[in-house]
């Protein structure tokens, strides 16, 4: 990035901060603050171990310093400005989650476009929120587009603050489904009396009301529903494609599903040993389908610094956008995170890395070389290092 580009972005970041009212997180004065200034050269260093007090009036600070990136700590401390963690005096930490396209198994790096990656990330966000709201019952959630390649969720329920690393790791494993065991999904109940030889001695059931068990159950039912609308032959073939399920078993499963659908729907998987076997196989897939592949070290680190909502991301020129829960469905990061300040003008840039860019609800095929483009598009390309600022004519 050359000097003119940097100067331009710094100036426009200042304009953004002048016009925006960036609100502070709760207990802001008990948190550590960090930022990365706009500097030349590769050695970008973070200025950290700042207390809010050191920064002076915050709105002033943002306009004065117009940093490239701004962070605050998930932790709250007695003395947030102290230089070492030991001296800070930890009081507790928010529980944060980071979903990053780079870490999603479903994302094909180098193949998926930025927009596709973000869409896949938003799907994972939906799954993460389902765990946090339905399973954990958390109430104080803040969901944020990171301004880069994913989403952050900040949980601030009082109960999470005191959790240590080990406790946070358990939560990580839960939402990722790491170490999930089939035996833990089904609960067995001894069936009273000895009904006929064929009747199973145990009645193992999924819990259909919530948790991983309900997810595994949903997955099994979806599979069975698909089977039931297929032609007989097709359904049997589909079943036989599983290792260990042959002709006899696939017929037994299909018959069981038809005759005992209500039982199956209620969670009972012991309607036939073959059905039980199928449930076990399918449960192995549920982690991939329903798990939320969050970035573990972010969540387990109680001293993490994380981007400030409504600040600007210096690597994209997009805003770190807070998303209201009821607006999540319709949220499109590539439209809604474009700062208002950068709309409505055109600027001259020199593109060094051409290609397709999806932004502002539109797709642009950007050629190499000097040209005039919409400002937000220009800012995006320059922040990503794909263009330099050109002198305006």
């Amino acid at each position: 990035m050359d000097e003119r580009t940097r100067a331009y972005l710094r100036g426009r970041f200042r304009d953004y901060y002048r016009r925006s009212d960036v609100s502070l997180p709760p207990d802001a004065e008990a948190r550590e603050w960090g930022y990365i200034p706009w500097t030349a050269g590769p050695g970008t260093t973070m200025a950290r171990h700042n207390a809010l007090l050191d920064l002076g009036d915050f709105a002033d600070f943002l306009t004065r310093e117009r940093p490239q990136h701004v962070y605050f700590s998930v932790g709250r401390y007695d003395d947030p400005g102290a230089d070492s963690m030991a001296e800070k005096g930890w009081r507790g930490s928010d529980l944060v989650f980071d979903l990053d396209a780079d870490h999603l198994p479903s994302v094909a790096l180098g193949e998926d476009s930025y927009a596709t990656m973000l869409r896949k990330c938003k799907d994972a966000l939906g799954r993460l929120l389902s765990f946090l709201e339905d399973d954990f019952g958390f109430c104080d959630l803040e969901t944020v587009f990171s301004g880069g390649r994913g989403y952050h969720v900040h949980v601030r329920d009082p109960g999470v603050r005191g959790l240590d690393r080990a406790g946070r790791r358990e939560i990580v494993d839960y939402v990722r489904g790491t170490g999930l065991q089939f035996e833990a999904l089904v609960s067995g109940e001894a069936v009273a009396g000895t009904a006929g030889r064929k009747s199973p001695a145990r009645k193992r059931t999924f819990d259909t009301t919530g948790g991983w068990s309900a997810r595994a159950h949903r997955h099994l039912l979806d599979f069975v529903d698909d089977l039931l609308v297929m032609e007989e032959g097709e359904a049997l073939e589909r079943l036989r494609s599983f290792e260990g399920i042959g002709e006899g078993r696939s017929e037994a499963i299909l018959r069981g599903a038809r005759e005992n659908y209500a039982e199956l729907e209620a969670g009972n998987v012991d309607i036939h040993p073959a059905v039980f076997g199928l449930a076990r196989r399918l449960a192995g897939e549920v982690v991939e389908i329903d798990g939320a592949p969050i970035d573990e070290p972010v969540t387990t680190d109680t001293n993490r610094l994380i981007r400030l909502p409504e600040s600007l991301h210096g690597g994209s020129g997009l805003a770190v956008r807070r998303i209201a829960r009821d607006e999540l469905d319709g949220f499109d990061p590539l439209v809604d995170a474009i700062p208002e300040t950068f709309r409505g003008q055109e600027i001259a840039i020199d593109v060094t890395d051409p290609g397709l860019v999806e932004l502002g609800g539109d797709s642009f095929i950007i050629e190499a070389g000097k040209q005039v483009v919409l400002e937000y598009l220009g800012v995006f390309l320059m922040a990503r290092g794909r263009a330099e600022k050109e002198r305006e004519r």
Partner: protein
């Protein structure tokens, strides 16, 4: 008004009301330390931890038994070894859990109603009364028990009590969790109350002990130190003994030393493990350096990053579950069955190891030096 010392106090000396009773009985810690019967029982409490892993048989006299607890804590503090604190707290917790099971089943614990132990009372004692609730199906059938049913605990309380426990069944992912409540059986609740006891016993240890309390206990302290030396427990997690590494880490280290290319997660795992057991970047680089084609610069950089020197975070070793999901868990052995984390494996292995010839890797350069360092308990 003094309530007097009751059997229940002696049985559960860490309860708030037991401490209260001691305060009201107006016995000073100095007097207790000088009381021979009390000191003897206190010594037994700690000594049996080392020999049998329990706190020994309770003394009949309520006063002696009750007072032996604070004195036992003083003894543990004077010896001042983390492993002793750990073992002692664990033994008190296990004894507590057994007593909970026995006493809650009993209709009456000796006469007076104030003497009865109830689950409600226990939960209140540990500030868990709002965090545990019956599901309305409590104790109705065996099936409930088998389903792990009957009670629910708020997830934050659950995590603060269960996260350090070993065993897959305690892992949150294998529990039923809905709307913030974790399903538990009655036994689970009692086990977690045991954990609450462990945390309370261990909290504040080691205490700083005034000289006049220390003086009459010198002999007892010497006895414990001797026992401790015999049991070879003092080798803390900071000792680097590659022979005792978990199989996964042995394998990864071997690969590094052979100069094999490791994927990022594998390299991360071994480096995080080595730094978590207390190795400095220099040591790690040196340990890796056995192979000639090895890139020192990059290793130094990565290692500093993982150790938190050049990044805001010190990373922790991935748990077995994570190792498994990345295919880094290889050659599992018997010990692996009992742990859920490579660090737990190593801690365990160090505790069990019959030492003598085990020396810290860093002390192996010169044989002579190695000996003295190992003896000094580094």
């Amino acid at each position: 008004m003094a309530t007097g010392l009751r059997p229940l106090h002696a049985r559960y000396p860490y309860f708030e009301r037991s401490r209260e009773a001691v305060r009201e009985a107006d016995v000073s810690l100095v007097a207790a330390a000088r009381d021979e019967a009390v000191a003897e029982r206190a010594l037994a409490r700690v000594e049996t931890v080392l020999t049998e892993g329990t706190v020994g048989e309770p003394e009949r006299g309520t006063r002696t038994e009750l007072l032996s607890y604070p004195i036992a804590r003083v003894l543990v503090s004077l010896v001042d070894q983390p492993v002793l604190v750990h073992r002692y707290a664990r033994a008190e917790a296990e004894a507590a859990r057994e007593r909970f099971v026995a006493d809650l089943g009993r209709r009456e614990l000796k006469s007076a109603p104030g003497n009865r132990l109830t689950l409600e009372g226990l939960l209140e004692e540990f500030d868990l009364d709002g965090a545990v609730r019956g599901t309305g199906r409590a104790e109705t059938s065996e099936a409930d028990t088998e389903r792990g049913d009957g009670y629910e605990m708020g997830v934050s309380s659950y995590l603060s009590l269960a996260a350090d426990r070993r065993g897959e069944e305690w892992r949150l992912v294998n529990r039923r969790l809905a709307k913030g409540w974790v399903a538990l059986s009655r036994e689970d609740v009692l086990a977690l109350l045991g954990e609450a006891v462990r945390q309370r016993v261990a909290s504040g240890l080691p205490l700083s002990v005034p000289a006049e309390i220390e003086a009459p206990l010198e002999e007892a302290v010497a006895t414990i130190e001797e026992r401790l030396a015999e049991t070879n427990l003092i080798r803390d997690i900071d000792t680097v003994v590659p022979e005792l590494f978990p199989p996964c880490m042995k394998y990864l280290l071997d690969q590094v030393q052979k100069g094999e290319h490791l994927e990022h997660h594998s390299r991360f795992a071994i480096t995080a493990f080595l730094s978590n057991i207390g190795m400095e970047t220099d040591d790690i680089v040196e340990l890796y350096m056995v192979n000639p084609g090895f890139g020192e610069e990059i290793t130094r950089y990565q290692t500093d990053h993982i150790r938190g020197v050049s990044s805001p975070t010190e990373y922790s070793t991935p748990a077995c579950a994570t190792m498994q999901s990345y295919g880094d868990c290889v050659n599992m052995d018997d010990r692996c069955e009992r742990i859920s984390h490579p660090m737990g494996y190593y801690e365990d292995a160090l505790e069990d190891a019959d030492d003598a010839d085990l020396t810290d890797w860093r002390a192996r350069e010169s044989e002579a030096e190695a000996k003295t360092e190992a003896e000094a308990g580094e």
